[in-house]
Symmetry: C2
Amino acid sequence: MKTYSLNQLGRYPIYLKLLKEFFDEGVDIVSSPLIAKRLGYSEEQVRKDLQNVASEVGRPKKGREVKQLIEDIETFLGYRDSTSAVIIGVGHLGAALLNFPSFSEMGLEILAGFDTDPKLLWTRVGGKEIFPVAMLKDILPRLNAHIVIIAVPASAAQSVAEQAVASGAKAIWNFAPTHLDLPDNIVVEDVNLASSLAVLSHRLNVALAKEEKK
Amino acid sequence: MKTYSLNQLGRYPIYLKLLKEFFDEGVDIVSSPLIAKRLGYSEEQVRKDLQNVASEVGRPKKGREVKQLIEDIETFLGYRDSTSAVIIGVGHLGAALLNFPSFSEMGLEILAGFDTDPKLLWTRVGGKEIFPVAMLKDILPRLNAHIVIIAVPASAAQSVAEQAVASGAKAIWNFAPTHLDLPDNIVVEDVNLASSLAVLSHRLNVALAKEEKK
DNA sequence: GAATAATCGGTAAAGAAATATGGATAAACT
DNA sequence: AGTTTATCCATATTTCTTTACCGATTATTC
């Protein structure tokens, strides 16, 4: 079975976004070199990535059908059959995620929020009802949501993650700036802004040093 | 000069976070295998990563000094001399970022926000004043901020990014779900939730398939 | 209708990154 | 004090990812 590196997987949504732009502009056919140029990737990488998920072969001198490619990538990424999620932590970040419009495009339905703040409970944020965290184990199994999004402060993250797992969560999308220690069979994906910033800073330093040298 | 892969760079903030937890618990000395176990990394990877930034050699049978290691990583990541940034787009996400407490720990000072919404202008969000985007080219050079954080809708992202670059931005931290096409000498770091979600979904599917097989 | 140019697909090579190995050293234990 | 054990560092190996190459194919041009 073909395996995909995590970097490679992360590129597909980027292709998808660009392809949809092409589609909206009425472009029917795209070639790998064209995509590569737009995204700053190498031609070969794009070609290999697309080969891996395309249902049809490309045509020499032309490329591939935009519409078909969009379908193929969406199918591959699972955007076509939606998964359910809930979010724990409805502070600034959690509210932003609840109001984020693109998740449903990606096949992710956020069904509800959880928090401990009495002011928030039983209200609606982004159209979704907010329940107390203590009710997680009653509500989560009923919602049949596999994915739990964690957007609480770092200090509370491990604890709510454990509650989520105990309530049947299979995957944790962790926005808290801390490492979660969970059983091996639980999928944990970190959105670590500190890591992203570290990469940015380092690249900026390299760039500034290069500029100085000139 | 030693080069660092982007993956490796992203691990340092994670080490740092864990080391600070150890420090708070009064732990003086840590070994690579211990860190590896806590984070789910291999022992060798941790050792190599730490060797690359540590100012002192580790001691057999003991490990390394937590305090020194924290200093070394913070120095390496540039947390010790802070960089300035501004943020464009003060919607849900932008406001969440303006209220995010950890940035100053990471040496990132967000000095101001920019938006086009008249209701927001000249107010304060997260303690930072909000200016009109049109004033970017007047204000940004005066603030001497190299980093511009973009948190506007995808449709506006390319345009504000170009304005930021024209106003002197050297690095763009892009939270908009779109690819930005900017000059090569500008550092662009994307925070792409779609990519992160794609990785999560794929890993979840693999995990669920494995469970089924049992 | 032949020549040219652009793209594809498959395979090979190169390059990076992670992991394993082996000797050395310092602490802990007997 | 000597032996054992845990960890270090340096180097080698393996594995994974990306890039390069090359023949085949099909539009386009003359």
